[in-house]
Structures are given as structure tokens and as C-alpha cells.
Symmetry: C2
Subunit: 162 residues, 2 copies
């Protein structure tokens, strides 16, 4: 498989899991938390699929194209490890969907992030909330859900708060 093939597969899987998650939260009130803006493609997709939701983006450094940057009320700038536990006053209600696409591909870094991020995510999720992550999280009190058709296990992780 060429890198062009892999990139297509990765983006198609990403779209398919986000669309699936958007459908799952239909009955769950609350905002969306996008952890990591990157180039803004998934933010733009979530904004299109969930036009009635507030979407808050957490990012250390904005590099996306201006077309895909939320207004300043909805950008929470800084290290997620610092900001996520203190976002309550701005974000308000617990989140219906949390999407974490933070991995740089290094397994040690993933393990470290898993340890500090998991309790923060659990804390900010509403009952019935869905969590989509590019690496595994430890979420007691959540169920791990099967991935949509065509996504290989380990590419994404999908959890739902009980």
C-alpha cells in the first residue's frame, strides 16, 4: 500500500468514525470538545455535521488555515493538560462528544498522554457522551463500542459514558 493509499484510508476512517459518533449523540445534550485543531479538517467536518452544537477547540498553537479556525470564544489556547481541567467556566455543560486526535505516533508519548488525559476526559463527559480517540484511553464507567465497518481495530478507539 502506498502512502497515498494509507492517507486515503486514514481520512476515510476518520470521517466514518466522526459521522458515527455524531449520530450516536443525537439524544445527548452538550457541547463538543475538539482536542487538537491541527489543520482544522476534522473541526470543519464536525461543524458541518453538528451545526447546532457549540464546538470548543483546545490547541497549543494555531496553525490551521483561517477558514477552519473557530471564533475566539471557542478556542481554548494552551496545553490541554493545563486547560482541560479548568475549562468549566467557559464551556459550561458537560460534553456530548470529545474527539482527541493528539498522537504524534510515538507509543511512549501515547502512554504518557493516556495517563493524564483519561481522567480529564472522563470528568468533562456527560452521561451518554461519546469519546473518539486516536489512541487508547482508560475510562472506567465507559463502554468501549465497536468501530464502524471498515475501520481496523487500533486505528481509533470509541467509548461511551454509561
Amino acid at each position: 500500500m502506498s502512502r497515498l493509499d494509507s492517507m486515503i484510508n486514514r481520512l476515510v476512517a476518520q470521517r466514518s468514525i466522526l459521522d458515527h459518533a455524531a449520530a450516536l449523540i443525537a439524544g445527548v445534550p452538550g457541547p463538543v470538545l475538539e482536542l487538537g485543531l491541527g489543520n482544522g479538517r476534522t473541526f470543519d467536518h464536525l461543524r458541518e455535521k453538528l451545526p447546532d452544537r457549540e464546538i470548543f477547540v483546545f490547541e497549543r498553537k494555531i496553525t490551521a488555515s483561517p477558514r477552519s479556525i473557530p471564533d475566539s470564544d471557542h478556542v481554548i489556547l494552551g496545553e490541554i493538560r493545563d486547560t482541560l481541567p479548568f475549562c468549566g467556566p467557559r464551556v459550561g455543560a458537560a460534553a456530548a462528544l470529545i474527539h482527541a486526535d493528539l498522537s504524534n505516533g510515538d507509543p511512549t508519548d501515547d502512554l504518557s498522554r493516556r495517563s493524564w488525559l483519561s481522567p480529564m476526559v472522563a470528568d468533562r463527559a456527560a452521561p451518554g457522551a461519546v469519546v473518539v480517540s486516536g489512541h487508547a484511553l482508560d475510562l472506567p464507567g465507559f463502554d468501549e463500542l465497536p468501530l464502524p465497518e471498515g475501520i481496523r481495530p487500533g486505528r481509533y478507539y470509541l467509548y461511551r459514558k454509561q
Copy 2:
């Protein structure tokens, strides 16, 4: 359509036109010229589809991941406007396939490149050679071919030397 959707469509169209071009040149001898390495995804794809061809990459500044950089014999470093007319001693035979993915999306820049690049491409192409370009070229003595199914006109241009 979200930017995630557009990116998927763009990459799928790119793969489909490159696969089509690779099939078209089955009977045409000669190397492949990749004008612009970028992140190396299309180079990697061409290398996989055309394992028996020499592929020469023309690039002003190498930024691709090391996995997708050709060996130094096959990288022609510098401004294409300067190097392409003088690549004969290194490249040898006229090319069977020339892929130009050089546009930065600015129409004035595209018009300028079209003017200097077209005669150089015409010069380096073998009889029966295929040219795939992200913007229009002026190639007298070439036929413009229909695009593969599903690619909207104007996204790519496909030419074949008579």
C-alpha cells in the same frame, strides 16, 4: 462539503488519475518525471505502481519524510524552470510519464507556470507519453484525453503526445 470531504475527494482523484496514466503508458518506454515531491505521497504511489521505471523527482526543497525520498541519483534539486531543460544528461531517454503537481492555487502563478513549463514538458516527452497536470498546459502536438470517471473537469488535466 467539509474540508475533510474535499481532501478525501482530492486524494482519491489523484490516485485514480495516476493509476489511469500508469496503465496508459504500458507500451511506452522511458522514465517517469515527478515535478514536485511535496510530501512524497504521489512519488511513493508511482514507485509502487511502476516498479520497473526509473522515477526522477524535481524539487526545489526536500521536505518529505525520509521514507519517501528517492536516492540522490534520482533527485534533481533546484528550480524546475532551470533544471528541466538541462536534465537530459542525467535522465537519458525522453519520459513516458510526466506528473506536474506544482500549483499553489493562485491563478496568476498558474498562468505564468503554464507559459514557461509547457514547452519544457513537450520537449522531454516521448511519443505516446502521458502528461498529468494539476493546471492546464499548452501542448501542441498532444491530445487532451478524457479524465477517469468521477474526476471533475478542471481538477486535473491529462494529455498524450501524438
